[in-house]
Symmetry: C2
Subunit: 205 residues, 2 copies
Amino acid sequence: MKYSVITIGREFCTGGLDIAREVARRLGGPMYDKELITLAAKESGLSEQAIAAGEKRPSGSLLYNLYTMGSDLPLSDQVFVVQSQIIRGLADKGPCVIVGRSADYILKDRKDALHVFVHADMDFRAERIVRLYGQSEKTPEQRLRDKDKKRAVNYEHYTGREWGKSQNYTLTLNSGAIGVERCVDLLADLVGPIKADPPAPETAQ
Amino acid sequence: MKYSVITIGREFCTGGLDIAREVARRLGGPMYDKELITLAAKESGLSEQAIAAGEKRPSGSLLYNLYTMGSDLPLSDQVFVVQSQIIRGLADKGPCVIVGRSADYILKDRKDALHVFVHADMDFRAERIVRLYGQSEKTPEQRLRDKDKKRAVNYEHYTGREWGKSQNYTLTLNSGAIGVERCVDLLADLVGPIKADPPAPETAQ
């Protein structure tokens, strides 16, 4: 099986984003994450701020309601529709790695897509959240649970599927147990080079 | 990370057993599946028949009730306790692959255990169930759902965890999408040789 597109869902602070970035780098394709917001903003006519507000789905907030006015669809649903179109377009365009945004669901019918979910034990993630983002009033465990909850709710709202359920993914990895670098090796081995056009051989100038 | 013990849970007809057997063969350790029943029979004083009856958990059956009489624990629970002890003993004894029997839960605290769950799409499994076991009155899909349901109920009864939930495993694999042989390669690469004593080099006789 030759994979062209890799989608990566992940629990918070598992190193899933690092894995995505490194897999993309090794395999020679782009990685899309927050850039999707910018792309969505450009293509949809919705402003970047509106999309960011829609992604957070702060139901009842003044900003959210202001943006929602004048459309039949709630803003968050508009953002999901636009992002889905963009994700399909990116996958059509060429080999790439797409992080989050329920991309596994949006691209579930593509035979050339490898769907990955990265999780890890609480201890591993708690150490990472403090190291990367510092301490806060809440315990690391509570912060992780809150972040995961948001991702799960969002995923389940749009897909009707359970976030992190193994059957939704081609493979799932415990990055804490396996190690972030070993996860990259494993995915890179599985996928092989996804670069559409191999670089031209170097020639003496 | 060096893994000594691999546990493999699997949906029915995913090739999970083939994967387990081949990984064990390549890595030079034994694979335990139904043999556990025999071991359990020998070590527990429960007869082999009683253990087979307990595993099926046919609540209300005459055979089941007969075996259960005279013990505080239901027969199925006795079997689980005995099998858990045996699984721990096998893991202590040396490198091995253990299939099913909620071994991932029983050995969840072993740092040297790699916990795998194998699943696959319905089409892939439906083709396999008919090829391996022939047609029956029920549709292949119904037979697969019935088998999976039994495994899920059993797992959840003893572990309090959700069967196939990615967070319970080190990694999960879609054998239909990845391919059975590729799953073997991937696991063998990840684990490395688990043979405790490498074979003696061949010498001319």
